[in-house]
Amino acid sequence: MAIRVLKPGLATTVQDAGREGYYNVGIPLSGALDQYSFRAANLLVGNDESAAVLECTLMGPELEFQRDAVIAVTGAELAPKLNGTAASRNQAIAVKAGTVVSFDFMRTGARAYIAVAGGIDVPVILGSRSTYGLGAFGGFQGRKLQAGDVVPVGAPKGKPKIGKRVPDDLAVPLPKELELRVVPGMYFHRITDESAQTFFEDTWTVALEADRIGYRYKQGRALKFRDRKQPFGAGSDPSNIVDAGYPYGSIQVPGGLEPIILHRDAVSGGGYAMIGTVISADMDRIAQMQPNNKARFIKVDLDAALSARADRNQRLQRLRAVLV
């Protein structure tokens, strides 16, 4: 079984739960940016929840199915069409052989997930089928899909239940303005007291430079770094440090101007001071932000981060209970 790509969309890649254990040599996690929606899509079509899917960014592809299949579309508000006829999101739908699956424009959110019963069957590299674009490996030939690609699909494990759907209260929320919770730390002490306040007071706008590597935010007040004699090896700008590892979700502010939050295709390290880290429970939400969406950063402590993490895990448990 395979899927022929008629139109690739803007940035459609194969992703799964990602590859851990190689960040020390600069190979990042990769994997679906919105892990919750990705898992929902798999559960709907009866896959293991970490099977490989297609992640579509801001625009859907056009796909021709060579055999009968069961698919599900989750995440961003991107309505599928089967041979031009509207079909449902967040639901297992049957696709007959020869059908062309296309999409409306993406209304809200930024990333939709297309799961196919059987999973996308590209080779496993370092434990994952995810695409790592900068390293040009994983996924489908290490790159975004292109017109003419024929993407292999594995054999479904059982017979998925057509019509199975994600209850509304368990679908991913897609607000155009949201709050991202941040634990300050690492080099937070390098910015002035005033900047330590304005960073959390201002409303920030997602810039055009927002992708799987990182999300850039603009239109907040510039941050000022405290004066100091730069340490040996740190570089001359006050926002520079001796090159260090960057946590996922860490926030750097080159030149004090525009905060960048690193996501799952992160550059693994560099010489810009990190002033804090977005909590793990909010990483999925970043994935659904479009350019020009707004965000505020909310200062939280470790306990709040751990309790948000527990809430998110519980929500995922409820989803599993409903869909498995």
């Binding site: 634990v183 040996f232 693994s268």
Partner: protein, 294 residues
């Protein structure tokens, strides 16, 4: 560096970031290597990533398995444990051939001249002048004369940051480009601040460009024999010795890469920090004996 001087910080709920020193030093790097090596051996449940860097390191872990406060205590204990032992590293020394002043980085640096501190000279001429070398040849002799530690691998897959094994006064220092380039040839030998690097893939970059190596350092297809175990050549803690080559040697090596017959001189070696610090030049001479002896 005193024991108990590291600064511990949370990277939200899944990371702990440890700054061993604000400034770069061989001692800080070595301490990070010792702690991260010890942590790896401990096989702590939930630990997903252990990433040593130049003068810091970070750990990513599942806080549902090991609580961040527990992890923090454990790392602090490790710092105390390694603080009192003589630091030695069992590692490798690798010779990397370099065509300095090559046509490809030269073409690239000319394209981005308006982003450079000195639009009227090349990167290597600029570095020669501000580091007070008499000629580019003398600069190349210094760059390729003493070995370098791989003090971090990252930014992108397989890219080594390199810290030269010489006294601080002899270290080459250059600022990064005023504004980063949007292009850098693959396998460019770069330098920014006190760090050298080798660009593993083509792409953006802000380091000064001195030359290019024919030796692939990152290959997802794992074509050459030295990629048999893994797609990245370098690991933190490797030692690199550059060797200047000419255009004919470069072209010959590229041909060997294409036919899959290219190899690198790689030898196992031990490194003892105190012995090095006592006599850097003499110690480097011994490292070279290991590299070129039989």
């Amino acid at each position: 560096m005193a024991i108990g001087t590291a600064r511990y910080s949370l990277g939200a709920d899944e990371h702990i970031f440890v700054e061993l020193s604000e400034e770069m030093s061989l001692e800080a790097f070595f301490k990070g290597m010792a702690i991260t090596t010890a942590l790896e051996k401990k096989k702590v449940p939930g630990v997903a990533e252990i990433c040593p860097a130049n003068a810091s390191y970070q750990v990513k872990f599942d806080p549902d398995v090991t609580h961040p406060n527990e992890m923090m205590k454990l790392l602090q204990q490790l710092e105390r444990d390694v603080g009192s032992v003589e630091l030695e590293l069992n590692t490798r020394i690798i010779e990397i051939p370099v065509l300095y002043n090559d046509p490809w980085t030269r073409e690239t640096l000319m394209r981005f001249r308006e982003r450079h501190q000195e639009p009227n000279s090349t990167d290597i001429e600029y570095a020669t002048r501000i580091n007070h070398f008499k000629s580019v040849d003398e600069f190349i002799a210094a760059h390729s004369g003493s070995p370098w530690f791989v003090s971090m691998v990252g930014f992108v897959a397989g890219l080594p940051f390199l810290f030269q094994l010489v006294e601080r006064a002899k270290q080459i220092e250059v600022p990064k480009y005023l504004r980063p380039r949007t292009d850098t040839p693959k396998l460019t030998i770069g330098h920014g601040g006190c760090f050298g690097c080798i660009y593993s893939v083509r792409g953006a970059g802000g380091y000064q460009m001195f030359g290019i190596t024919p030796a692939p350092i990152f290959d997802p297809a794992q074509g050459l024999p030295y990629f048999k175990e893994f797609m990245c050549l370098f690991r933190p803690g490797d030692i690199v010795k550059f060797k200047a080559i000419d255009r004919a040697e470069y072209d010959g090596a590229v041909k060997q890469v294409e036919t899959g017959t290219f190899g690198l001189r790689i030898r196992p070696v031990g490194f003892a920090m105190k012995k090095f610090l006592a006599d850097p030049a003499g110690y480097n001479h011994k490292l070279e004996e290991v590299l070129y002896g039989n």
